[in-house]
């Protein structure tokens, strides 16, 4: 596969992820279970991240996933779970074998596509797409804006970066301990 800009290929993915985002947003506001709604919201965030990446704003895409789909949604979910609003049975919107197989197939398709795209982008000279260059003139070379961010993050601030994960682990263990339903003997 060469690395020239394919309007059809680009347009197909733009509409694919745009439609998924809209559908997820509608599902997000129509779900009864707050946990399911929150999970659909994460889906919206992921689709938006894909659109950012397609605009060659890889960094904003990554941050979208990290900050919104990661941190903020985890906080939402913590609050929802700590308040015990959702019943465990309501969590799954996908029930039965058929829908599950379909969901798995969609997942595999997206994974395969990501891998193909990754291969074609890493190999060879990357020719910036004309349409994209108009939108993001500053994005340069292969890494886009990732490399200047990744360098300090994984060199000078490596320790702080790793400590953040310990902090999140401590927060998760603490929230689980406090939020966990107690056994029958301790039932309040």
């Amino acid at each position: 596969m060469d690395n020239t800009f394919h309007p059809l290929f680009y347009g197909f993915h733009f509409y694919l992820f745009g439609l998924i985002a809209i559908a997820s947003a509608i599902l997000f506001v129509t779900r009864k279970s707050p946990v399911a709604a929150a999970l659909w919201l994460i889906n919206v965030m992921f689709c938006l991240a894909v659109l950012y990446v397609m605009l060659d704003a890889q960094f904003i895409g990554a941050i979208q996933v990290l900050v919104y789909a990661g941190a903020i949604m985890v906080v939402f979910l913590f609050v929802v779970m700590l308040l015990n609003l959702g019943q465990p049975d309501d969590l799954a919107d996908i029930r039965g074998t058929g829908p599950r197989l379909a969901a798995g197939a969609v997942g595999l398709a997206i994974l395969a596509e990501v891998m193909v795209l990754a291969r074609s982008r890493i190999q060879g000279e990357y020719a910036p797409a004309a349409a994209v260059e108009l939108l993001v003139p500053a994005a340069d070379a292969v890494g886009g804006v990732i490399a200047p961010v990744a360098g300090p993050l994984f060199r000078e601030h490596l320790l702080a970066f790793e400590l953040t994960s310990i902090l999140l682990l401590a927060a998760i263990v603490g929230a689980v301990v406090i939020g966990k339903k107690q056994g029958p003997a301790d039932a309040r």
Partner: protein
């Protein structure tokens, strides 16, 4: 050997004790979730945590014996770090040992509580090592987040819920101060590493820069909350009261040691060219000593009394911080060791004497303890006398205060006023430590009062070790002081003209 911190392998080697503890805590978190909560399982996880903490302690001791230093970077490799690490790990081991036996009595079955103690201890060790404001902030948060959860462990107790919420909200508020202070310091100097900050201050003559001043002030407020210095102490009595007894001891000993060690490092390494923090900190020390002592006098509950006594000791340690000589860090580690051992022991006895499922620890429960449980009464006396700084029977406590006073008197500028206040308030503190001893030995047992529950094996070990160390080290203070001297970190000398800007009370 020199650790080149720009190399990931050397960074890992320099962080080995911390990494051992973090990795162990992660494995224990898995183990804790492996089975449903039960007394046997929490005991198993607790024992595992003890092993992990002991492993980390061994690696700290090996690292201290090996010595070495680090290039300028995000963490320090020096004796001060290892000494503070050892105190923190001792406190954590004592806490876990007590917690294993206290949890069933409080009706708590979570095995994760031991994991949280391990995670909190790893945050404290990060603090002891940190030389970068970002790492310091993360260390503070790792420690605090774990402690917020530990305070709220007892879900059936309204006091525990109140304590947890209070500590969480005020802690988040204090974190805001801290973070804003860090942001302003970064704004003024453009650096986060302590060494680079002082270099930037020297290069651009920032010693009187308003943004830097406000930043340092906010930073001190944030730390003032963590170490419970007056006027940021309001949470301490309620939180100690609501938390289970071993956790309260952990907060009084470990959190204070870690936060203080960091504060010393920040003040001495980053801001030794800025004199303006000396005077306000001296005032905070004075107010903390006086208010803490006076309020402690009126307490009728041992746990609350110990909370105020912890506030008072914060005041004493602040005097060491204000002295700001190369002795100050040595005095700090020496004092902290004695204080930590006494705190562990005192809270262990409070836990034993406390009746099952009961929140408070009224002074009346100690009347005539000598007649039913003589060894508990003797142990409590040792710990209280160590707090008081009594010679011989107070062991390490006496020499801690002795060295503290000599550091304050010998400091350039001679902190005479502060030293006098230390001595006077120590006399006042006899007014609340000694009545407990009198009640235990001289008052009759109340009619129908039951004898405290038998002491568990682990609790007994904690009591014997802490009382033994206090007394034995009290007999050999000079050898311990030699070790402590080797493990001080030499701060940059504060220039005289800088010290002169912090005048007033110091004269």
């Amino acid at each position: 050997m020199t650790y080149d911190l720009s190399q990931p392998a050397a960074l890992m080697a320099a962080l080995l004790p911390d990494l051992l503890l973090m990795g162990g805590a992660m494995a224990l978190a898995l183990l804790a979730a492996w089975r449903p909560a039960s007394d046997a399982h929490q005991r198993l996880v607790g024992q595992g945590t003890l092993v992990v903490l002991a492993t980390s302690l061994v690696s700290v001791i090996l690292a201290a014996l090996r010595g070495g230093e680090a290039t300028a970077g995000v963490i320090a490799v020096d004796g001060f770090r290892w000494a503070v690490d050892a105190v923190i790990l001792l406190a954590a081991m004592g806490t876990v040992a007590l917690n294993i036996e206290q949890q069933p009595r409080d009706g708590i079955r979570h095995a994760e509580s031991h994991v949280l103690v391990g995670l909190a201890a790893s945050g404290m060790m990060v603090l002891a090592a940190a030389r970068d404001l970002m790492v310091i902030f993360l260390g503070i948060e790792i420690m605090s987040v774990a402690i917020y959860a530990l305070v709220g462990l007892n879900r059936r107790s309204a006091r525990s819920a109140e304590a947890s919420l209070k500590y969480f909200l005020l802690g988040a508020f204090a974190t805001g101060f801290l973070l804003y202070g860090i942001a302003l310091i970064y704004g003024a100097t453009g650096q986060t590493q302590l060494g680079s900050i002082s270099a930037a201050i020297a290069r651009h003559a920032l010693a009187l820069d308003p943004m830097l001043m406000v930043g340092i002030g906010l930073l001190i407020i944030g730390f003032g909350f963590k170490v419970a210095a007056v006027p940021f102490h309001m949470w301490a009595p309620d939180v100690y009261d609501g938390a289970t007894t071993p956790i309260a001891g952990f907060m009084a000993a470990g959190v204070k040691a870690a936060a203080f060690a960091t504060l010393l490092r920040i003040l001495y390494e980053a801001f030794y060219l800025v004199g303006l923090w000396i005077e306000p900190l001296a005032w905070v020390a004075v107010v903390t000593m006086i208010v803490g002592n006076l309020v402690a006098l009126s307490q009728r509950d041992i746990k609350r009394m110990l909370a105020y006594s912890g506030i008072v000791h914060t005041g004493y340690l602040l005097v060491a911080a204000v002295a700001a000589t190369d002795l100050a860090s040595t005095v700090f580690t020496f004092y902290m060791l004695g204080y930590t051992l006494a705190t562990l022991g005192a809270f262990a006895i409070v836990g034993v004497v406390q009746r099952d499922g009961e929140g408070g620890a009224p002074l009346a429960a100690y009347a005539g303890l000598w007649s039913t449980r003589p060894w508990l009464a003797v142990g409590m006396s040792v710990f209280l006398l160590a707090f008081l700084g009594f010679p011989v029977f107070g062991g390490l406590g006496f020499f801690g205060k002795w060295y503290l006073l000599s550091a304050a008197i010998d400091a350039p500028g001679r902190l005479v006023v502060l030293s006098i206040i230390v001595v006077l308030t120590s006399v006042i503190s006899a007014g609340y430590y000694l009545p407990v001893i009198r009640a235990m030995f001289m008052e009759p047992r109340a009619e129908g009062a039951t004898s405290p529950a038998p002491t568990g094996a682990l609790t007994r070990v904690v009591l014997i070790v802490s009382a033994g160390l206090i007394l034995v080290c009290g007999l050999l203070p000079s050898s311990l002081a030699t070790i402590a001297l080797r493990n001080g970190f030499a701060p940059h000398a504060i220039p005289d003209e800088v010290r002169a800007t912090g005048a007033g009370l110091l004269r």
